[in-house]
Amino acid sequence: MMTDKLNRRAFLRGAGGALVALPHLNLMAEAPKAAPVPMRMVCVGTNFGFVPKLFFPEETGPNFKAPELIQQLVQHRKSFTIFSGLDHGAEGVGGHGGVHAFLSGILSKNSRGFREKNITIDQKAATHVGAATRYSSMQMTTGSQGGSILSWNAAGVAIPPIRDLRLLFAMLFEATGPRQLSMLKRAHRQQMSILDLVQTDAKLLEKKVGVEDREKLDQYFTSIRSLEKRLTQSTAWLDRPKPKVSYELPSEADEMDFVDRVPLYYNLAALALQTDSTRVITLEFSDLGPNSGGFPVTRGYHQLTHHGKVASYIKELSIIERFHSKQFGLFLDQLAAVREPNGKTLLDNTMSLLGSGMGNASSHSNKNLPLLLAGGGFRHGQHLRHESGKVPAANLFVSMLQRFGMDTDSFNRSTGTLNGLEVA
């Protein structure tokens, strides 16, 4: 059949990109020495989710039979867990309008009452990283419009992701231009001198106020010191040369079809983690762009997700969805190939989450979200089912944040950590 032929071509293209791209790094000289190896976090979200029966195995536990989509990355089955029955409850409901709650569990419009608004797990993790890496987090997207933003900050504001591959590459590996560098440094210097000035003010104030105010002034002095430290760290990043990689982006990277671009985002993500340029990445997949993204499909992605159980629709849709899980698997391949100073692989040292805020696009349901977590040092290799509607997906995020090194037992609407997901 024609579809099958095209299908194969698309897959070859996608896979081919990734194979060629497996990074050759000359990092040896610069690899961070002896320091404890940090945990990383990558959250990949698709706008339309996955067809549930193609994603969720029927059996729970370690001996699940991999359905069609899981087949695509089955080589890692010992290294990931598939979750079912998790969602954000009533808070994540809104059809397409609920998808943006994927990583927070809170709709933007309902975020006002929360201390950190609808902050997403990646941004929470980024606060933990602070200035320890060049970028506390990075947001990538393959689409230019209509997507659902994955990352939201503590003010409830969406963080626009970057589509431009060349820009991402430049941010990671190209030297900052002298003008921009001096501008950034000047801004840091300015803040540093302001801190000097206000410290003098604070000392003056210290003489005027009473004992009961000491604690408040101490808070102020401590704040000055912690900010100084952060500014010093940030300035240091400006002076530190960016890591050198032998990886090259195709010159027309940003004009390529979706199927050819996707592996490139994953390559950059893997390289960013490996070079410790950042420890937190979100990657969003939404529209396919022109030429049906290079897929052998005859209808729009969105239209296909409303398949109304028409078999030919599901068949075309599964071409796109298989591609997503396949690419995620190839990304895991890349991570597994990198050995880190603690003797583990980058796959072990990275929590890679694949999922969506959409549970079933055909019925606009935000229940039972597709969620797959790989790596991160958890005891994997299972399909973990929770009773639907009983456990917030935010509990998984608490477990992840703890694993990330954060001393927290809650995240947004969580009720605890996730039962059944243990550290290996």
Binding site: A90, G97, H100, S108, K109, N110, S111, R112, G113, R115, K117, G146, N153, A154, A155, G156, V157, A158, P160, Q190, Q191, S193, I194, L195, L197, V198, T200, D201, A202, L204, L205, K208, V209, G210, V211, E212, D213, E215, K216, L217, Q219, Y220, T222, S223, I224, R225, S226, L227, E228, K229, R230, R299, Q303, H306, H307, G308, V310, A311, S312, Y313
Partner: protein, 842 residues
């Protein structure tokens, strides 16, 4: 001890302890311990690792207080002594007496430890913004530079309690960035007065497509291009209508702009079945006006950062021009929307096409494919659109003819904020750095500043200029530093060791932050400099002057929100499905406005305090009146309304704002509402529940009423004592649903239909029976002394940033008595608080 517990203790003590009492352990405590505890908890057995011997050998020692707290919890829980053979248990009366004695003692201990003077406090986020508005003349509403600030932590509603405030390096950086943003906006060095421009947008400028046929689902343009119909309405989330090309750049400069929209409502009376539309079309269609700081905020679901200007009631079939003037930062884009629209039009349109306009019917591609796959015949022209529904549709829409924009309108140049700092000079190089900085620092620090005190700031700016930094830039950096200084960010009230009286400038600051939540103006600072402010008649006259100023609106908003805990609204938003009107009619902001206007009214007219409970009036707009079932109030604007008996409203406990703030968005909780009455009205908050008591699991299926659940609660010893005091107050408000709508029944199973009949009767611990909210209000209104004392304490906390302690007992009683002996008016009470010794001391 947690902070909330501490404040509870402080407030609870007012009602129980005599003045001037220090902490003395009641002799009953060691007697009780000897009688019931020591047998197991002695040095030999040390059951549960607790040994009370050291306590008994020296009961008064402060080091035992931790163990006493544990005892209190255990007694409250009824866990100790254990129910076992051969173990003596105290009779209930004795146990209760012990709980009361221990509680009072531990409270007094805490009060002894409480700071007896104010603690230096930080400006809250809203105070920071109001202060920037007054210092720099910037509009902080339209482009709020403090959006990333962490939320202020509140202690029992009040965000200005110094000991509870936190600060971090991150926040310090945000302070620097916000100051710089506002300074960049305020100062116009080197800029000419910008020319006023005019833009007119025709329907085709407001829509992407040129197509004049379609589904009317969002927008459709008429075939003659003369008007545009907006066919749907979802409160803010999606579908804004805005000038498309203009939006790429937005307005060219910061400034005030006049926005005009020519529009009308059409189709409010339509030939279709009424139930097809999810809107109440008996009221006017409304046009909402917003603006956003950039095009990115127009994307779907980016509602955060959009600034709502207002809603206009549209006339039917009568195009009129609606107008508003707003301040917008450069790059802003105004947009409009049908704000009380019918929500998604997808479903009604489908039915309307089927039922009324079958000629516009067409099969979807998916439906055709499905037929094909099933081997069923596909009608030949199934996919052909013969007539568009937009040409046939007679349903409700907002029709827009034109949008126009004019500005930036500058009343003066340089603008006020610039003049505050640099006078009329727009060439920064010509300014005297020293004079400029000293004058600004005095305003920012709210007191005279000698040049030696800020010599380092002056030197810094001078050095920058000398090393080639442009004067304007150098000056801005210096000003940023002043606005990041602890002398600006903190309200400093001196050293209690050198005396507890505030000086004139500190008093001026207290007064302006109490009434304006902002920095003292020139006149206040001048009076302070002349040493006249502390003089009684001057202080009273100034209080009056400040209250009459529009800036006093801040007092009404922020005091009211803290006192009545309206800050809680929005933390548990009602469900959209369960309460669609809450969103469609913007009830949340309407209900807050009602309470603010009500309190403002009481303040303006010096109404007696019991009127907060038994008023027969309130302030309503059309949406809220509909919510309350009050007839004949239509439109967006609020007005004074005399409430009919049938509405069962009047007084604060009937305000939807409070009824919403004390529910969780899904169901009501008599406990939360009871606590609210005790805390916000009577000032006798119940003690927090002992540890490890599971909360009540609300059962929404209606099989078990909340009353039955609470009855169970009251039968558990651990809960009984407190809940008997809390729940009855809350039961009386059960006729009001989670968003304050009147109801006669609980919702039925699965939230549908009618469930059980409401029963709002209860018996207070004092023995009085109350049947409903009317009895509750009547009863509360008679408790004048308690209401007045509570309000006094709340006003003091707001005005001084300090929790009054036992030592202040007499002063508080004096204010309360003075009010009760006079006309018990709200404005007089506020005056009495400000005239009191407590307001004038640290």
């Amino acid at each position: 001890m947690s902070l909330s517990r501490f404040i509870w203790v402080m407030t609870a003590l007012w009602m129980s302890a005599p003045a001037g009492m220090g902490a003395e352990l009641p002799p009953s405590v060691p007697v009780f311990v000897k009688r019931y505890c020591i047998e197991c908890h002695d040095a030999d057995s040390e059951k549960g690792d607790r040994n009370f011997k050291p306590f008994l050998s020296n009961p008064g020692k402060a080091t035992h207080n931790e163990i006493l707290k544990e005892m209190l919890d255990q007694l409250n829980l009824g866990e100790m002594p254990p129910r076992k053979k051969n173990i003596a248990r105290p009779p209930d009366g004795e146990r209760r007496q012990m709980v009361a004695d221990l509680g009072r003692y531990l409270s007094a201990v805490e009060s002894d430890k409480a700071p007896s003077t104010s603690v230096m406090r930080r400006l809250t986020r809203h105070e920071y913004n109001y202060t920037m508005r007054d210092l720099l003349g910037v509009d902080t509403m339209a482009a709020d530079a403090t959006r990333l600030f962490p939320e202020d932590s509140r202690s029992h509603g009040f965000p200005n309690y110094g000991p509870a405030q936190a600060l971090s390096g991150h926040q310090l950086q945000l302070y620097m960035q916000a100051a710089r943003t506002y300074l960049d906006r305020a100062l116009v060095f080197g800029q000419e007065r910008p020319e006023e421009q005019q833009w007119t947008f025709k329907p085709q400028d407001l829509i992407h497509t040129k197509k004049n046929v379609g589904t009317v689902r969002y927008r459709v343009i008429s075939s003659d291009g003369k008007h545009l119909d907006i066919g749907h309405g979802q409160p803010v989330d999606s579908g804004p209508t805005y000038p498309k090309t203009f939006a790429i750049r937005g307005v060219p400069k910061d400034g005030r702009y006049r926005i005009r929209v020519k529009a009308t409502a059409v189709g409010r009376k339509h030939p279709y079945a009424a139930e097809l539309f999810r809107a109440d079309l008996s009221h006017s269609l409304q046009l909402g006006l917003w603006h956003v700081p950039g095009i990115a905020f127009l994307k779907k679901r980016t509602s955060e950062g959009r600034v709502f200007v207002r809603a206009f009631d549209l006339a039917d079939n009568n195009p009129k021009t609606y107008e508003a003037t707003v301040w917008m930062p450069a790059g802003s884009i105004p947009f409009i929307h049908w704000i009380n629209g019918i929500g998604s039009t997808k479903r009604p349109l489908r039915t309307i096409v089927e039922r009324y306009h079958p000629e516009a019917r067409r099969k979807s591609q998916t439906a055709v494919d499905k037929l094909k796959e099933a081997g069923l015949p596909v009608p030949k022209d199934a996919l052909v659109q013969k007539v568009w529904i937009s040409d046939l549709y007679k349903g409700p829409r907002v029709r827009v003819f034109e949008m126009a924009l004019e500005g930036p309108l500058h009343e003066q140049w340089p603008p006020r904020g610039h003049q505050n700092i640099a006078g009329r000079e727009t060439d920064a190089a010509k300014l005297n750095i020293e004079k400029t900085l000293v004058a600004f620092a005095a305003k920012a620090f709210r007191r005279p500043v000698k040049k030696e005190e800020i010599a380092h700031h002056i030197r810094f700016v001078q050095d920058r200029v000398d090393s080639g930094t442009p004067s304007a830039e150098a000056l801005k950096q210096g000003l940023t530093a002043i606005l990041s200084s602890p002398r600006f960010l903190f309200i400093e009230e001196g050293d209690a060791r050198r005396g507890v009286r505030l000086d004139d400038f500190q008093l001026a600051t207290r007064l302006s932050y109490a009434l304006w939540c902002s920095t003292p103006d020139e006149r206040l600072l001048r009076l302070a400099a002349e040493g006249r402010l502390l003089h009684g008649p001057t202080l009273r006259a100034e209080t009056e002057r400040l209250l009459k100023d529009p800036r006093a609106e801040a007092f009404v908003h922020h005091f009211t929100d803290a006192w009545l805990r309206l800050d809680k609204i929005g933390s548990m938003p009602p469900g959209n499905k369960q309460f669609p009107a809450y969103y469609r009619n913007r009830l949340e902001s309407a209900m807050k406005t009602e309470t603010h206007l009500f309190v403002a009214h009481a303040l303006r007219l010096n109404r007696p305090i019991p009127e907060f409970l038994n008023a027969r009036h309130s302030f309503l707009n059309g949406a809220l009146a509909r919510h309350y079932g009050v007839p004949d109030v239509v439109g967006e604007d609020f007005r004074l309304v005399n409430l009919p008996n049938s509405a069962r409203r009047g007084g604060l406990p009937g305000h939807a704002s409070i009824l919403t703030a004390t529910a969780n968005g899904v169901e009501t909780s008599p406990v939360t509402r009871g606590v609210w009455v005790l805390e916000s009205l009577l000032g006798t908050p119940p003690s927090p529940p002992p540890p490890d008591v599971p909360p009540i699991e609300p059962d929404t299926r209606g099989a078990v009423t909340i009353r039955e659940q609470l009855a169970k609660h009251r039968h558990v010893t651990a809960c009984a004592d407190c809940h008997a005091k809390i729940d009855p107050w809350g039961f009386a408000l059960e006729y009001f649903d989670p968003i304050g709508g009147l109801r006669t029944h609980y919702p039925g199973a699965n939230g549908r239909g009618k469930g059980r009949l409401i029963d709002a009767s209860s018996q207070l611990p004092s023995g009085e029976h109350i049947r409903n909210e009317a009895d509750l209000r009547r009863l509360l209104a008679t408790r004048k002394a308690q209401l007045t004392r509570n309000l006094t304490l709340k006003l003091l906390l707001h005005a001084t940033g300090r929790v009054p302690t036992l030592r202040d007992h007499e002063a508080v009683n004096r204010i309360t008595k003075q009010s009760l002996n006079g006309n018990n008016g709200f404005r007089n009470l506020l005056h009495a608080v400000i005239a009191s010794e407590l307001f004038k001391r640290r």
